[in-house]
């Protein structure tokens, strides 16, 4: 990430560490971050509007739970990056989508970002991660069968086919998915697994985008080929990368789609 000073209307970017005795309030979507400086320490606390009543002023609540870090002697600044969640997302469209054989669809999914707070020393480009805070708490879920499945987060979406300005929010990362059904069967998408830990985040004109992803469905037995395109989606041509993927993978084959089926048993 290039050193970019955060604009007043956005959280993302670099900011000086609060001076000793100074308290700062930063808001992004439903998340409020409270920052405090004390000697060479940085104190950080947060609240979410969905969980508690966030005070309107610049004074943090008395009972706020703080985390604190002592920084080195060299001057530091804080960097706020939007990152995608740390596990796969099980995305459930409000209305199931069916791709007939050989059909394609481009859908947009808005993913709540996590705020990664880093302390960056002097002119260095890489910082030490202090904390990662989800702007919205997503429910846990399980993807796959009981023996080989994996944990993920649950996200319901409208899986829109078109974009509009009002869809972009400062705490949401727009993910463009290019779905291609290359099997001989219709693909009934009740849910799909979006492996966001492999996606980078881009920014253009204050809008956040996830790396372009192609998902090619090959059949029930074969699974899906997932290709990360290592570039922003065409809708965000010229966007620059602000957060690299958590795990760098350019492609993988995995089970991505799921039809509704009983998993629980008794």
């Amino acid at each position: 990430m290039s050193a970019k000073i955060a604009q007043p209307d956005t959280l993302w970017g670099d900011r000086p560490t609060p001076a000793s005795g100074e308290t700062l309030r930063l808001d992004v979507g439903p998340l409020t971050l409270w920052l405090k400086g004390l000697e060479n320490e940085v104190w950080l606390g947060f609240q979410r509007a969905e969980e508690t009543v966030v005070p309107s002023g610049d004074t943090p609540p008395e009972d706020l739970e703080w985390s604190r870090w002592a920084l080195g002697d060299a001057p530091h600044h804080l960097r706020f990056r939007p990152v995608l969640p740390d596990r796969l997302l099980v995305v459930k469209p409000d209305h199931p989508l069916t791709l007939l054989r050989r059909a394609k669809a481009r859908v947009y999914v808005r993913v709540p970002a996590w705020v990664r707070v880093e302390a960056v020393e002097g002119e260095k480009t890489k910082g030490a991660t202090l904390m990662e805070i989800p702007t919205e708490v997503l429910s846990d879920t399980w993807w796959g069968d009981f023996l080989t499945g994996e944990l993920g987060y649950w996200l319901t979406t409208k899986a829109r086919r078109e974009l509009s300005d009002d869809l972009f929010e400062p705490h949401r990362i727009m993910s463009a998915l290019h779905l291609i059904n290359r099997s001989e069967d219709d693909l009934h998408v009740e849910k799909l697994a979006l492996r966001v830990e492999h996606l980078s985040t881009y920014e253009k004109e204050g809008r956040l985008w996830a790396e372009e992803t192609n998902v090619v469905y090959l059949g029930e037995a074969e699974g899906s080929d997932i290709r990360m395109r290592d570039r922003p989606p065409v809708e965000a041509e010229g966007a620059h990368e602000i957060s690299p993927a958590r795990a760098q993978v350019k492609g993988l084959r995995a089970r991505t789609f799921d039809r509704l089926r009983a998993l629980s048993g008794w």
């Binding site: 708490v137 429910s139 846990d140 009981f146 629980s264 008794w266």
Partner: protein, 293 residues
């Protein structure tokens, strides 16, 4: 008198035998034996550690453990045999004696041998790993070590329990933390006047509101039938294994709060007493008073 002479002869013969043996062992042999013993065993230990560490990293702690035992014990045996050989012991009679001794020891220490062999089975079969939480009989705790003779577990009230390997092979062992997710079954009874559909919806809402309750597998709502004082249900929800207790406590608390808010009654046991016909009033007689009912 004769007995004393016999004893003296035996002692003399033994002394001559020992002195003959000692004179037949030369100094280089002693040095070689010493080197074998004092360098060989630490070397075997170091090599074993190195390979075990590699196996642990490449496979698992369990595999590391079994590899270390398979390498170290034979290596030590080999070193001891070499030392005896170096010191001039004829190994054929020693082996013969060892065989007889082995049988004798085997009979005498059946339990220990059984535990050792069971230990190998436990490590190879891997029903649990170090760090797993297991339940054996009425003991539940975290596995600390899988040793040659026993498995040591730490119970949640911080006691150490030693369970012989043989017992584990013979008993039913439940590995609580084997899978990353677990299901909690919460038993709930509501008053007969309540609408089961509303109860179900309320429970599902409570589960959905808690982000640590897994959305899939979906929570189950099971009607267990008509209890003595309540309609009985099982509400089964899933959570990550490492959050199981926390989520169960949260969910139980949230259900009570939500039922109270919704006016859903959780009844305590009712007992109805009848005398004679069930429709007639219960007869009460006031003793010492004027009225009789």
């Amino acid at each position: 008198m004769n007995l004393l002479l016999l004893q003296a002869d035996t002692a003399r013969a033994a002394s001559q035998g020992l002195s003959h043996y000692l004179t037949s062992v030369n100094v280089p042999s002693l040095i070689r034996s010493g080197l074998l013993l004092f360098l060989g065993i630490p070397l075997a230990w170091a090599v074993t550690r190195w390979i075990a560490r590699w196996a642990t990293k490449a496979y698992s702690a369990q595999r590391g453990l079994i590899v270390s035992k398979i390498i170290f014990y034979p290596a030590v045996l080999l070193i001891l045999v070499s030392v005896l050989n170096e010191l001039g012991f004829k190994l054929a009679p020693v082996m013969g004696a060892a065989g007889i001794l082995g049988i004798a020891l085997g009979f005498a220490s059946q339990t220990s041998v059984s535990n050792i062999i069971s230990g190998f089975f436990l490590i190879a079969e891997e029903p649990f790993k170090v760090g797993d939480v297991i339940q054996v009989g009425d003991v539940t705790g975290q596995v600390l070590t899988i040793d040659t003779l026993s498995v040591k577990i730490r119970t949640f009230d911080n006691k150490m329990v030693r369970i012989p390997n043989e017992t584990l092979v013979k008993s039913q062992v439940t590995t609580v933390t084997r899978f990353p997710i677990r299901r909690m079954d919460i038993q709930i009874g509501v008053a007969y006047k309540e609408d089961a559909g509303r109860v179900r919806k309320t429970l599902m809402d409570v589960a959905t509101a808690n982000p640590h309750v897994l959305m899939e597998p979906e929570p189950l709502f099971i009607n267990n039938g008509f209890g003595a004082s309540s309609l009985d249900f099982t509400f089964a929800a899933w959570a990550k294994s490492d959050q199981f207790l926390t989520v169960r406590n949260q969910l139980t608390h949230d259900i009570k709060v939500r039922f109270d808010a919704e006016g859903i009654e959780i009844p305590f046991p009712h007992v109805s007493l009848y005398t004679g016909s069930v429709t007639d009033p219960f007869p009460v007689r006031v003793i010492g008073g004027q009225e009789e009912t």
